[in-house]
Assembly symmetry: C2
């Protein structure tokens, strides 16, 4: 991290003043704790996903429907600067949830996830969703110990978001394209969005869905169950 | 700023490890440079606005239409992690623009704005829009030397955004509520959004508009001209 400008950078960038890189200390400490989280999740057969997006792309709405439709046991860690609104919504949908408020902080880190996971008391064979703080920038660099990263973008945002915010798309395994029920009322080019995303991450996989009317949810739930099965299988043969 | 978790905080928050606050150095240095920017803008009769929002709320689309409809001379500083897309859009709309790419950085700072303003060569009596990096968290703490702060939220986001991301709403002078052309297709409660925003900033003023069909633009342009006149008047009597 660069403390001259305060950004979470893993790259050199010029400043007229003294530059101290604390990146090594900060990210290495987080990475060590994330590796501990990952080992704990894997040994407990807990399939963990880190959900990343801008504020308002529909992460919580997707989770509400996912919790209601999935037959597997689910728990959720909710990250927000303030309020317990999202955890309350998830609990109303039928899953256990813990809210982490970051105050003026801009992302979750491995330590926060470790504490929240302890509080949840996760069941073996379950899925843990971590809904990160709504932010397309800072959460990109912080490993939480997740098995997969899911970036969510809605069709009411611009098609060039991936190129403008490449770090968050570069390390994602899946891109959920939400709010497709609104496509008839927008001038949005789905193929342009995918092209932009593939230009920064050629391996990215896409699922189009609508948390409002449920379109695309069969694909999303199948993807989840399949990936969970693969992760559990790997664990069994390890 | 807290270098244990890397967030741009102005508040204490607990960490199990050593906490070093560099907030004083970092923000004080930025504030000094922002004060210099502000003095330069005021003496040059340049009315400067800092536009803040999540990615995809329509900042650039609002600016495109504003540039096309305003009769006052306009220049724009565009902040994004990467690409020159937004500056190209603004230039195509008819205003001078400079793109600032922050790399993996999450906000503009006063130094970046100073450099970009020099490059633009601003005219006396003009308006300077600074479109910050799309991020509802980190830009809140960084004064750029602007006369007013405008937060933009779209009706495709959740109504509780202001309470979840209070810092950015607390210091704003105006809230533009964008994409109101989509209201008939959404379950969005405008009054709930305003109530949430007023709970963190009782003085916030709202203008509802649509960058797509131009609704609300007469109010926004009048607000701009009125506030610019007041700022110029203050300068004349100083």
């Amino acid at each position: 991290m660069c403390v001259d400008c305060g950004c979470h950078t893993s790259e050199e960038h010029s400043h007229p003043k003294r530059r101290i890189s604390l990146e090594g200390d900060l990210l290495a400490a987080n990475d060590r704790l994330a590796a501990e989280n990952r080992a704990g999740f894997e040994s407990g057969d807990i399939f963990t996903l880190n959900l990343l997006s801008s504020p308002g792309s529909g992460k919580t709405s997707i989770l509400e429907r996912t919790v209601a439709e999935l037959t597997i046991s689910v728990a959720v860690i909710e990250g927000d600067q303030q309020t317990g609104n999202d955890a309350a919504r998830i609990e109303a949908a039928g899953a256990r949830a813990v809210q982490v408020n970051t105050g003026s902080g801009c992302h979750l880190d491995a330590r926060m996830v470790s504490g929240a996971a302890d509080e949840l008391g996760l069941e073996s064979g379950s899925i843990l969703f971590i809904e990160n703080v709504g932010n397309l920038v800072c959460p990109a660099l912080f490993d939480l110990g997740e098995a997969v990263r899911v970036v969510i973008v809605s069709v009411t945002e611009g098609e060039d978001k991936p190129e403008k915010y490449p770090y968050i798309f570069r390390n994602a395994d899946l891109c959920l394209i939400n709010k497709i029920d609104l496509l008839p009322y927008l001038d949005f080019d789905l193929e342009a969005l995918k092209k932009s995303a593939l230009s920064v991450n050629p391996d990215l996989f896409f699922i189009e869905l609508s948390a409002r009317d449920g379109r695309g949810f069969p694909s999303w739930l199948s993807w989840l169950e399949e990936r969970k099965k693969v992760a559990s299988g790997r664990r069994a043969t390890a």
